[in-house]
Amino acid sequence: MRFARALHCLPLMAVFGFASCGNDPNPKPLASAHADGSPWTVYYGSLSAEARSLDPQYAYDQISHHILEPIYDTLLQYAVMKTDPYEVEPCLLESMPEKVQEADGSVSYACRLKSGIFFHDDPCFPGGKGREVVARDVQYAFQRLSDPAEESPVFSDLAEYVRGMDEIFKEARQTGRFDYDHQTVSGVELIDAYSFKLHLLKPYPQILYWLAQQFTAPVAREAVTYYDGKAGRPLFKFHPVGDGPFKLDSWIPNQSFRFVRNPTYHTTVFPTGGWKPEYEAADRPLAGRTLPLVDEVDLTVFREILPIWLLTRQGYIDRYGVMKDAANSALTSTNELAPKYAARGMKLNKELEVSTFFMVFNMQDPLVGSNRKLRQALSCSYNPQGFIDLLYGGAAPIAQQMLPPGIFGYDKDFKNPYGFNLEKARRLIAEAGYPDGIDPKTNAPLELALDVVAAGGEERQLAEYDQRQLEQIGVKVRLIEDTFARQQEKEDQGNFQIIAGSGWGADYPDPENFFFLLYSKNFPPAGKNAARYANPEFDKTFEQMACIENSPERLELIRKLNDIEIEDCPILLNFNKGYYLISQPWAPLTHSNMLLEGGLKYASVDPVLRKQKQREWNPIAKWPAPAALLVVAGVVGCAIQLNRKRNA
């Protein structure tokens, strides 16, 4: 009987036995030390969703780019330390592409790949040894971009400028098949094994930024042919074969990605200068070091935000972008790091994405489109600060102009004359013909329709904030709640008055990539000018500005575009997206380049300090086991007592 009772305690003991194994959720590193005894370093990061595809020519979502960046090196790359303004520098290329004026007047760029750069070792290559990256692989990447079957989302963007893409795309669509042996992109002219020339249809200096994206990264044809989804082989889009600083070691769907250092990588090194003052202490010791700085990277998929913060507090995640859910416990009321975490050596940094968020006025709407003063009045009535506080804990700056910080032409001293100013708003609404927001024709408040995407409670809260702000000048704002797709449809049809929550994140850091949102040839559905803003003066200036390189002349054109846009007010500027980032004492930030998708090759970690802190932060409590046993024993004892009494 006593034995049987002991058996009852077994599950309980097993539970506490497992408990004593600790709470580290991270998988065991691939190695514990290098052959020379130095520690094996691992960076632990988080992802907010699953990657959709790891095909460099196809993947377009941010998570997929985050996974692709460490695997595929690009022809050019964003100079990690240069963020004001952002700049590109050679990566796989030996030097910056050289602009050539061809005899027929067209423009081309002469490029030469570095020699001695190899694809990762993979069974798709003879003998499993990665072969050298050559110019032919760049041609192949452009062929894939032009293949309708690959569904590259950037095909139209590039085909407009790169010679020959459109023709072979159309041919393939006619025949239903893309012939990779014979249909080559004439815009990518191979000179020798390493050199090629990129021929453009018209001047487009921004092409250099495209060369810094995964879309144009060289791809080995062997890999695409080999990984065909047959005979147990995965599809190429699930099995990337790159040439970058890391190799994908494992991908457990919906769970995690693990990268391991590419041992032969030597394409880039850590910058030897240009560090920002706040990162200098972390950067100086790393200067000139071969990249990547860690041996392994483990990224876990988190579908909820709260657990990331929990694991950060335990020391199992190296970095945490503070989201609304956890802001209360991580930050003080003045938006500083809570003292408890500051004392642990954690650091708080502000991160600023290269984006601008705004509301869009429909310029073809008979009411808001024709009344500039009305738009200006609405712009003056809106205070973005409340929105920013609600959503980003105050970390995002108010947008004063269409260009966000970091883009050539951004003027940090510029203040939007139609920024929040209620007094001015009231004056403007009177000048617009609606004193105190009253429509003299009906003698009732002027009614406006605001389209919002409202999928959840938080979005509704934000929509109501927008509504209250605009109503401050006496007008009445009716909220129309749409799904994302419905709102896109309405944008395409021009079937709205004002749309809230629009925004643009830079494809590349060029003013053209923002002002094109107001260019009259970019009306939806083909283009992104949702406001349907058409101003010949703006168009002319934009066309001049778009195709020249950064210069004082260009700066002047940008100022002019900005002035026209601000005065005409086709969009209501809201904010530039920014948020707080908490980093662990053993993994200090080394840069703040937001055009890198994580910049994993620049991440550095001190594994010894981490181990020590993890032990310090996770002491295992001893008292619950005996306490639980005591409670169980008490209840059982009571029952036995009761039974005896009843049987007696």
Partner: protein, 335 residues
């Protein structure tokens, strides 16, 4: 019994067809194929790639019937469709009838593979929670019946009502914050499918799932047992001098089980679909969030396959329940 089974088998395709038609209509009433493409392509959407996206997934065909309506994509490419039934609906139904789940519209992953991969973590979470939870609830219910009408019974009832009243989210947050973060016992998040160490990740979520349902189950089972204990045969057994413990563990338990099994068995096949909330918060890569995620990302292929599987599993569950009824209670005849 056999004729009953055959009848069930014949009805199943009809029920499933009905479910699929309903799902199809509801999904496409909310989302046009173009809207799906837009949702997936996001800011990259333009007429060319929207058309290519639709074309490669067969959504460029008419939705229900092809009545010869000429459609042209925004970049002037004709949508192709031949014959009255060359439509999205008929192609999908044909694929499902031949058990071709196809690939995800968003990721292009083979859905057979997706379900296979997700089913194991889901079952590892829900099966132990279901089995342990059932036995614990039965045990506790018996215990409460054993000590009925005492202070302990009252306290037990109070605890059960309290457990029922707390929302599931609170359990999860409590479990993570106190057990994982405060006591540092188990990982607050994560999963590894590697032998015994898998248990380390599962104990906390399984325990929380048990606790979430325990209050309700114990109250319910207790009521069932109490009803049983008022029966004549119990009085007879008692009069014959059977001890309290034996009475409960042998007589009442056996007869009460008939009612309990039929209550819980219908859900057995659905365990494979996992638990959305717990899987999300603990990072268990199961099937729990598949449907919700698919609705968010406009992945109609996944929505279609998930509802299809759910419908089949539910019908299997109900059939098993009926059969169990017939087996444990000879008074019931299925024919």
């Amino acid at each position: 019994m056999l004729s009953y089974l055959i009848r069930r088998l014949l009805l199943t395709p009809l029920i499933i067809f009905g479910v699929m038609v309903l799902t199809f209509v509801i999904f496409f009433a909310v989302h046009s194929p173009e809207a799906m493409a837009r949702n997936v392509l996001g800011k990259r959407a333009n007429p060319t790639n929207i058309y290519e996206w639709l074309h490669h997934r067969g959504y460029d065909k008419p939705v229900l019937f092809n009545l010869g309506q000429a459609r042209v994509s925004a970049d002037r490419h004709p949508y192709d469709s031949t014959g009255l039934f060359d439509t999205v609906f008929f192609h999908q139904m044909r694929d499902l009838a031949t058990l071709h789940l196809g690939v995800s519209d968003v990721t292009g992953k083979d859905l057979n593979e997706v379900f296979k991969q997700g089913a194991i973590p889901s079952l590892l979470l829900t099966l132990p929670a279901y089995v342990c939870g059932f036995f614990m609830a039965v045990g506790l219910a018996l215990f409460l019946v054993f000590v009925r009408n005492s202070a302990l019974d009252g306290a037990g009832g109070l605890v059960c009502v309290a457990l029922m009243s707390i929302p599931p989210m609170v359990y999860i947050i409590f479990g993570q914050a106190v057990v994982a973060l405060g006591l540092d016992y188990f990982p607050a998040f994560g999963f590894q499918l590697s032998g015994l160490s898998t248990a380390r990740f599962l104990i906390l979520p399984v325990a929380l799932m048990i606790v979430m349902h325990l209050g309700y189950d114990v109250r319910l089972y207790r009521a069932v047992f109490l009803e049983e204990i008022a029966q004549d045969y119990v009085r007879t057994a008692k009069a014959k001098g059977v001890s309290n413990a034996r009475l409960l563990l042998v007589h009442v338990l056996k007869n009460g089980m008939i009612a309990l099994i039929t209550m819980v068995i219908a859900y057995l096949p659905l365990l494979i679909l996992g638990s959305m909330l717990v899987e999300n918060f603990f990072g268990i890569p199961g099937l729990g969030n598949l449907l919700v995620d698919a609705l968010h990302t406009s992945d109609q292929a996944v929505v279609r396959s998930t509802t299809f599987l759910t419908a089949i599993l539910y019908i299997i569950g109900l059939t098993i329940t009926d059969i169990c009824y017939a087996i444990v209670d000879p008074r019931i005849r299925l024919s």
